[in-house]
């Protein structure tokens, strides 16, 4: 969903025209294909049974079908090529629709300025209108694409799951009171206001609407008053407003599902009876509580199940994502089975499952989950909007100027009044008050969408004779909000200078201080003696850590506090970025700064080094080390080569991550010890282990590239494949002075692991730990100018030896 208004400015205009032409042709083709499909469908229903039987019999090899007695066998030429559309019709049509949706999405981003002016949702509706129009032109009946089963069971869940899984929990919880107010009270207000006033309008003479009763009006009001998560997501994705507003509107659209469900069922039930007693109202309230809390409970249960299952998946990594999807979908279906709020179940499932599952599953599975969710939700959303267009063309319409226009106006008015009124009350309880600008965006962002249409579609034709009029009004309202409000919200946001989303990556300092603040505020609350919400949050966290995490997270990782997890994730990301940033080239100059660890470490007075006798390695020792290191590298390479369809490539980078970290820590320790004693003369050029230790411990040291004139080692990260001999070359560096380009294996983890094992062995052999002797020295007194620039101790002044670059 990335807006790509840029990047295609340089396309030759001919390409653009061709692109547009292609687009139009594609639409036409799709339309015809679907028409064909629609055309064949009436024929099928007659022949279906017999046709089906025939195929079945043929496949089973039963000679001569028994169904039709007048079946005479006449010898025909053997059909070399035949067309059998009915056989594959349904999947074919589905695939065509999905393909259409995806191609549309593709097309819109190729056309440079279109996507920045018009939100995608509008364009998709237009495409839907076109396709629907084509189908109708061909004289066929438009398939009921927005059939409620299809919509609620297939199209909606991916979007909601995607939203729930990636829901930013912290801001959501911090604003939960406000969100609930808007969702529950706001929707109720909207429903009654719109429904009631519509009824009043209908009773006015001369509108020919007097047959519309109160209850159907209220029902209509409840359908149309709910803010739609799909539409909100689609539009708000593109305007990048600040997190608070986004979460307010979006949270509201998710949580009002419970209210909508209850109101809808309530009014639908009693529309037949014609009146609602106070008892029914009370029952309605109870029903609301059950629906919402029940939905959340169902979701939470499935979420915990999923988390528990993921604890044991370390040997079958390939199907990890599947568990998550299936459990979530089951949560949705189970909730729908009991008429609980399926949306809330999905959200609860995703949100509950996420922290535990992410600690358990592999990095690859995590990426898979992320991408599949995004893919499905994206396709779903596109399809929904296209279908809206098609359904508009298809559905029987009953246009009534009064009804429709009053609906649209009332919706707007009630939304504005509702938001303003509620904010007035809410601001009394908020620390960060909502300003007028915020209120405006919240009110203006209340978009209606396909859920309203589907709910309207579900209405019984007989019970509600004015159903077509309702549908027309709903569609008009949806069009109005999506087109008018959707298109104008972006310029309005810019005009009003509403705060936008901050793109900055979360830095480790912020993380440290966020945690620090949490504890600080909890402590202050304790001192004040007030059980405020920090206190309870802290209690929940501790409970979580003590009991829940132990059950649901595999291995030892449950002990890992959040800060450490964050830090590791950050290092991991940086390592991946390093790998992805391309092979064999110096790191890009988008490097923030040229500060390295050496600048940070406090200057320690160099110990009287001159007296220390720096021992040299014996040749034999060196050979040993080399052999160990080499064999470890080979081992790593072999591991990488084995492949099994049922397990992912044994990835030492990944599976050995924890070991790697522990070893790395030991190495850091080692490095620090060494840094105290190493100085310039006789220092070996940066030994590979040290280099890697430095790199591993200090992500920013990756970027420690300077112009050679500075005399600082330029690290050439040769992103060679593990099979490259480069990784072995460094072993020869031991003996070389002023080493030539030291290439570091790209799989820093992979080779590093090997190295680390080697280093450990050395460590165990006591080579390194002796304070006086320092590891891996080259033989002979190499007065190497290059020195442990990477290590912290600047050592005594050595300007005269710095003119050569350490590593060319």
């Amino acid at each position: 969903r990335v807006l790509s208004g840029t990047g295609y400015g340089g396309i030759h205009p001919i390409f653009l025209e061709r692109g547009l032409l292609l687009l139009v042709m594609l639409i036409f083709l799709e339309g015809t294909a679907l028409t064909l499909g629609a055309a064949s469908s009436p024929d099928i229903s007659a022949q279906d049974n017999t046709g089906g039987h025939e195929h079945l019999d043929d496949h089973q090899g039963i000679a001569g079908s028994n169904d039709r007695t007048n079946y005479t066998y006449t010898k025909k030429a053997f059909p070399v090529l035949s067309l059998d559309y009915h056989h594959i019709q349904v999947p074919f049509e589905i695939s065509l629709w999905v393909l259409l949706a995806s191609l549309m999405k593709l097309g819109f981003h190729l056309i440079p300025r279109l996507s920045s002016i018009v939100p995608e949702s509008c364009l998709l509706i237009v495409v839907g209108l076109l396709v629907g129009g084509l189908i109708k032109l061909a004289g066929e009946e438009v398939p009921p694409v927005l059939d409620s089963n299809l919509f609620f069971l297939c199209l909606l869940p991916p979007i909601i799951l995607d939203a729930g899984y990636f829901l930013p929990i912290r801001p959501f919880m911090e604003n939960i009171g406000t969100i609930l107010m808007f969702a529950v009270v706001g929707t109720l207000w909207n429903a009654f206001f719109v429904g009631g006033l519509l009824y009043a309008v209908c009773q006015i003479e001369g509108t020919y609407l007097s047959q519309v009763e109160l209850l159907p009006c209220l029902l209509f009001g409840s359908i149309i008053s709910a803010v739609d998560p799909v539409a909100v997501l689609a539009v708000f994705e593109e305007i990048h407003i600040n997190e608070l507003l986004h979460i307010l509107v979006f949270g509201e659209s998710l949580l009002n599902d419970a209210v909508t469900v209850v109101l809808y069922h309530l009014f639908e039930e009693y529309s037949g009876a014609g009146e609602v007693t106070p008892m029914d109202v009370v029952l309605g309230v109870i029903c609301f509580l059950i629906v919402s809390l029940g939905g959340i409970a169902v979701g939470a249960i499935y979420g915990i199940l999923a988390a528990f299952t993921s604890r044991f998946t370390s040997h079958t990594r390939v199907i990890e994502p599947l568990f998550m999807f299936v459990y979530s979908y089951m949560a949705y279906l189970s909730a729908e089975m009991f008429h609980l709020s399926g949306i809330m179940a999905l959200i609860a499932c995703g949100a509950v499952m996420r922290p535990y599952v992410e600690a358990n599953i592999s990095h690859k599975s995590h990426t898979t989950v992320k991408y599949f969710l995004k893919m499905w939700s994206s396709v779903s959303e596109t399809l929904i909007f296209i279908f809206l267009g098609v359904a508009t063309v298809a559905g029987p319409h009953a246009w009534n100027w009064t009804f429709v226009s009053v609906t649209v106006i009332l919706c707007l008015v009630s939304r504005v009044i509702g938001v303003v009124g509620l904010t007035f009350i809410i601001n009394k309880f908020r620390i960060v008050k909502l300003t007028t600008k915020d209120q405006f965006i919240v009110a203006y962002g209340g978009l209606r969408g396909a859920i309203a249409f589907s709910l309207g579609y579900l209405l019984d034709k007989d019970l509600f004779p004015m159903r077509t009029m309702f549908l027309t009004a709903i569609i008009t309202e949806i069009f109005f909000t999506v087109f008018v409000q959707g298109m104008t919200i972006k310029p309005l946001v810019d005009l009003l200078a509403v705060k936008k989303k901050q793109e900055a990556k979360r830095s480790i300092n912020e993380e440290i201080h966020t945690q620090f603040l949490d504890h600080l505020l909890t402590g202050i609350e304790d001192i004040c003696g007030h059980y405020g919400h920090h206190h309870w949050k802290d209690k929940l966290n501790r409970f979580n850590k003590k009991y829940i995490k132990k059950c649901l997270i595999a291995g030892e990782r449950y002990k890992e506090p959040q800060l450490i997890a964050f830090y590791h994730k950050m290092e991991f990301k940086q390592a991946i970025e390093l790998v992805e940033s391309g092979g064999g080239v110096k790191l890009p100059s988008a490097v923030p700064s040229q500060v390295s660890m050496q600048n940070i470490q406090p200057k320690k007075l160099p110990p009287p080094v001159a007296e220390r006798a720096l021992p040299q390695f014996t040749k034999g020792r060196e050979e040993e080390i080399r052999k160990i290191l080499r064999s470890n590298l080979q081992k790593t390479r072999q591991r990488l080569r084995s492949y099994n369809r049922h397990t992912l490539v044994a990835d030492p980078f990944e599976d050995g991550w924890n070991d790697f970290l522990l070893k790395k820590q030991r190495l850091i320790e080692l490095e620090k010890k060494m840094s105290n004693y190493l100085t310039v003369p006789g220092a070996i050029p940066d030994s590979p282990t040290m280099c890697r230790a430095r790199l591993a411990s200090d992500p920013n040291a990756f970027y420690n590239i300077k112009a050679s004139s500075d005399g600082v080692p330029t690290i050439q990260v040769d992103l060679a494949s593990p099979q490259s001999p480069d990784s072995v070359n460094m072993l020869n560096e031991f003996s070389k002075e002023g080493a030539t380009g030291q290439s570091l294996g790209q799989r820093e983890g992979a080779t590093g692991l090997g190295q680390r094992e080697g280093a450990d062995r050395d460590e165990d052999q006591g080579l390194m730990m002796k304070p006086a002797g320092k590891g891996e020295k080259g033989e002979g007194g190499n007065k190497n100018p290059g020195l442990m620039r990477c290590l912290s101790d600047p050592g005594p002044s050595n300007e005269d030896e710095e003119d050569e670059p350490f590593l060319p």
Binding site: N509, E510, I527, G529, K545, E560, V595, P699, R789
Partner: protein, 216 residues
């Protein structure tokens, strides 16, 4: 809201209210708590705060308690620590956690932000030399991770080092190999934390609503 006639030392409260910005009711509640903690004496000691049971599982409790006895937080330009504090000083320290008023100018918000960040800075800068050195920062991270029985001091060091490096990178940009980054100054501290909207986060809701659910 408004003065409570039942409070006997109203003029004193008025002065305190002016100084710290609390309302009379909030001052009354806090005074009750103060008396409860100090066992009805006039001065509060460290030992009194140590006895709060809920505080026992807080990883940074020593720093929090120290902050109450740190003269830098009393807004009187002193420094060093004291052994016991009066109610007024207690209130001044608490006032750091007051939420900003609704209609504040950008300037006033900035001032509030600086004040809160200054409080945090003082908590980290234990030797009061105006900078947070690597050692002090390491200590902070170690304390944060101390309760978690975590993977040991090495990770804490690693995290602190990485964080320090980040600050240096952001603040200093380019540094020569022999240049040395002394420590995080207050200005750098402001810079790296400017994205956390501290003035909206570092608040105690209690000071917003006048509820009285005092616990032990």
């Amino acid at each position: 809201m408004g003065a409570l006639q039942s409070l006997s030392d109203e003029p004193e409260y008025r002065e305190l209210a002016e100084k710290t910005g609390f309302s009379f009711e909030q001052i009354g509640i806090l005074h009750k708590r103060f008396k409860q903690l100090s066992h009805n004496e006039d001065m509060l000691r460290r030992a009194d705060l140590d006895t709060i049971p809920d505080l026992a599982c807080n990883p940074i409790r020593t720093q929090i308690i120290e902050a109450f006895f740190d003269k830098r937080n009393f807004h009187q330009n002193g420094d060093g620590t004291v052994e016991e504090i009066s109610f007024e000083e207690f209130l001044v320290v608490m006032s750091h956690f007051r939420p900003p008023a609704l209609n504040m100018t950008e300037e006033q918000r900035e001032k509030v932000r600086r004040e809160k960040l200054r409080f945090l800075f003082n908590m980290h800068d234990t030797d009061n030399d105006g900078t947070i050195t690597l050692e002090e920062y390491r200590h902070v991270v170690e304390e944060l991770l101390s309760r978690s029985g975590a993977l040991g001091k090495e990770t804490a060091k690693g995290i602190a080092d990485a964080a320090m490096l980040e600050v240096a990178s952001i603040s200093m940009g380019h540094m020569e190999p022999d240049e040395f980054y002394e420590g995080i100054t207050f200005e750098h501290f402001l810079k790296i934390l400017k994205d956390i909207e501290i003035e909206t986060k570092m608040n105690i809701r209690f000071l917003n609503m006048d509820t009285t659910t005092l616990c032990k």
